[in-house]
């Protein structure tokens, strides 16, 4: 059986990959993908702690992940709509070029 440590390390690794992507990539869509990866890494932690922690019958981790998936879906929809609106306005999705409040 896989110990809890391995899941936590894997989750930390996924979080760091998402963080690196969100910090280094300049395309707004890829920044959003990095944020999604970080959210998923957090979800993995919740499920791992639910599986190995005390009182799994309370289903707290599972509930948290279900709500977190719903939130991430809303976030992705609004974020991508914003990126499309910015692209229509400025003809770019490079976050370095979107640097003024007034178009």
């Amino acid at each position: 059986m896989t110990p809890l440590h391995h899941y936590l390390i894997l989750s930390a690794l996924l979080f760091s990959i998402g963080l690196a992507g969100a910090l280094t990539r300049r395309n707004a869509i890829l920044v959003l993908i990095g944020i999604e990866l970080m959210l998923n890494a957090a979800n993995l932690n919740f499920i791992a702690f639910w599986r190995y922690g005390a009182h799994p019958e309370a289903l707290t981790g599972v509930m948290f992940v279900i709500f977190s998936i719903g939130l991430a879906a809303a976030e992705a929809a609004v974020g991508l709509a914003l990126i499309i609106a910015i692209y229509r306005h400025r003809k770019t999705t490079n976050v370095d070029e979107v640097n003024s409040m007034k178009g």
């Binding site: 996924l14 963080l19 690196a20 990539r25 300049r26 993908i33 879906a73 499309i84 003809k91």
Partner: protein
């Protein structure tokens, strides 16, 4: 470490790295699908069946399609020869590496007392539904309201602006 976990973890991490480092945006989106599927497999391995299938439905189904559509709609923005990576990406990688070192150090140095897994916990759909409609009914309503508001907001934001006469 069991062999299935090692295989799934390797696949997930490799595709996550690919999703964050490839040049072609469509390749990034496809690698991201593999990452999400790997995470769903991990959820299934942890005995959380409902969450695993919700992950497949929401992420592999909906979010990936949404990202592909956004890439297609912003296609002209993709730069050709100039690299989409920042001028000095090493600072970001360094910060992420420091974050990973901190978290991994904390995890390794903590004495986690894992429950003896004689009987893995079960989360049947019936149990989840009863919890959702008794204990968590208010958060459920709030998330429904939030999804409705997000949908309307996304449509309004992405709608073509009418030029005023």
């Amino acid at each position: 470490m069991s062999l299935p976990f090692a295989i799934i973890a390797l696949l997930t991490v490799a595709s996550a790295v690919a999703a964050m480092s490839l040049r072609n945006l469509v390749h990034c989106a496809l690698s991201l699908v593999v990452t999400f599927a790997g995470l769903a497999a991990l959820f299934l391995q942890l005995n959380a069946q409902f969450v695993g299938f919700a992950q497949i439905l929401v992420y592999v189904g909906a979010v990936a399609i949404l990202i592909v559509f956004a890439i297609l709609l912003t296609r002209g923005a993709e730069p050709g020869p100039p690299a989409p990576v920042a001028n000095s990406p090493w600072w970001g990688v360094l910060i992420a590496g420091a974050a990973f070192a901190t978290m991994a150090g904390a995890v390794i140095s903590t004495a986690l007392t894992a429950r003896p897994d004689s009987a893995p916990p079960a989360a049947t759909v019936q149990q989840i539904g009863e919890k959702l409609l008794h204990e968590y009914v208010l958060p459920l309503e709030v998330i429904g309201l939030l999804l409705t508001a997000a949908m309307i907001g996304a449509v309004i934001i992405a709608m073509q602006e009418k030029s005023k006469p």
